[in-house]
Symmetry: C2
Subunit: 363 residues, 2 copies
Amino acid sequence: MTASGYDALKAEIARVYGTPAVVIDLDKVDANIARLQAACDAAGVANRPHIKTHKSPELARLQVEAGARGITCQKLGEAEVMADGGIDDILISYNILGEQKLGRLGALQRRVRMIVAADNPVTIAGLPQAAEIAGRDLEVVVECDTGRKRAGVETPGEAVELAKQIAGSKGLRFAGFLMYPPEDGWERTQIFLDTANAGLRDAGLEAGIVSTGGSPNIPNMGKLKGATEHRSGTSIFNDRMQVAAGVASLDDCALTVYATVVSRAGAERGILDSGSKTLTSDKGNLDGHGYILEYPAARIAQFAEEHGFLDLSASNDRPVVGEVVRVVPNHVCVVVNMVDRLVTVRGDKLIGELPVAARGMLG
Amino acid sequence: MTASGYDALKAEIARVYGTPAVVIDLDKVDANIARLQAACDAAGVANRPHIKTHKSPELARLQVEAGARGITCQKLGEAEVMADGGIDDILISYNILGEQKLGRLGALQRRVRMIVAADNPVTIAGLPQAAEIAGRDLEVVVECDTGRKRAGVETPGEAVELAKQIAGSKGLRFAGFLMYPPEDGWERTQIFLDTANAGLRDAGLEAGIVSTGGSPNIPNMGKLKGATEHRSGTSIFNDRMQVAAGVASLDDCALTVYATVVSRAGAERGILDSGSKTLTSDKGNLDGHGYILEYPAARIAQFAEEHGFLDLSASNDRPVVGEVVRVVPNHVCVVVNMVDRLVTVRGDKLIGELPVAARGMLG
């Protein structure tokens, strides 16, 4: 793409939508979807992309059409939107608790295949309520922690105990294990899985699903013997954190924020109209809050809610007031969550918009 | 309020809305609105609250009914929603640039009194387009930087030059100065203002409006001789940053996030169902990502998008899986921006919901 091509597109987006605008290049999205599917195929695991990144049934359908077995959601509200959008095989990688949510889960399970995660007896004790509403068995995977210290039981013994609780619960079916291995934790994860599987055998059970996760783990797919599925969210768009992790190039980043330089009150500084309410304060361990494609040496040093503070001291080229630039965000999943609509383009051509249907909800 | 009162309310909110739910106590909102108005009255400055915090025309109307002269917005989209909601005196404390926005600004100015800020000649050069569409003069204040290094001209001389440019532009009226003094920068701000005013007199101009800003600056109102208005956003809800700044107590915090403990995989740790997509990564300079009213010694140490990592090592009392807690966020303005609806309560009584009407928009 020539710079002048983007100049015309930037002017058009500013004219039609104004800035800040959150823009995805569907050509890059298509390529990213295909690349993930090919990587899963090559590793011999099913693809179950995590839709928390895009929250769009349209994009989920593209993922399924490309070969994904189903999708992953982090929230029940996301799963409801995806089921309404025609997705019929949904894993919620989260403990679902409370009567209200169990009722909604049951209603969903009546319509589509639902799999949910659990890492404790309280969650499992509630899930039969959902199965009863659904009128059929609910598949439950046990979430295992192999080093991230997030959710998930810490030992194979606990995992087997929960598997037995699931298998012994009316309306529930033990479906397997869910893991989110640290990028350097695959050996430990293998030992965990092998030990847990041995425990399952003693109990007459089997893990039909062994689900791993994470876009930075795409190069690690295939390392865990026994893995059956992988959950990757960010790779559909990619971002500065994925580039830093070495799993994507800047050119693979499908989402950019189109922002306007609104102030240049000092020679070495300026203000973008994109602050923490657009790019978010999710910084990762990176320097600055985004990468400006037109001014790679400019640094988004700090945020107010609608102000991105530009440090231009290291940049020989400096933008003028009114100029529109494209910013690759540090963490794309939270940026999508800030807006009701994404603007869609293909290369330098404006296509239209795409609702971020599964955002903004309570519960 | 007794703990048992909140137990019933927490159960009701979980049953009706699910968690995480972003909840405001309208009794506290009323008290906070009244307190800000009284402080402005006592300082002899008009109250022009910043609606970026709540993004709700209903709450803006309450502020105007309590005595506010008008409101402040940071985005044109916010101003449009507020005008639709019946607010007729709106300052946008931001450089408005580009044909699309100038057209929208002109359309707004046709309906209600609009004042906009500018800190550079490019912005001012565009504004007559809006005035022409409006068919009447547009008031413009010059944004001045007295130490925050955000937007705003850095010297009184530049401020006067821009005032002259405005006064000499067809359809524009120089309305005064907009400032956002650092909390410790009032002396410097006074010198800036006095010098700029002297320059204005030489040019035959006068600053009808001298607008100051910031909720942490509420105790400083009245310090700047010549100030006419103050813009305060956060004080309608307050948050942990306001408490840390010494301008509010925890009891003044009207907004809490109702969150469920979904995992307790280790003795000293747990997971809340509120992560960076609910409480946001805006941390301020505080320890941890929020204050849990029921477990003050628990620390929200880290976030994933839908996980709040609880460090319970310093807490003798520890929550169980399924328990609902109330979290005072670090920065309330960005939390409101994450959801389409706020749940409203009065004390321990559930009232209903309030749309966050001015959020999620592009541009």
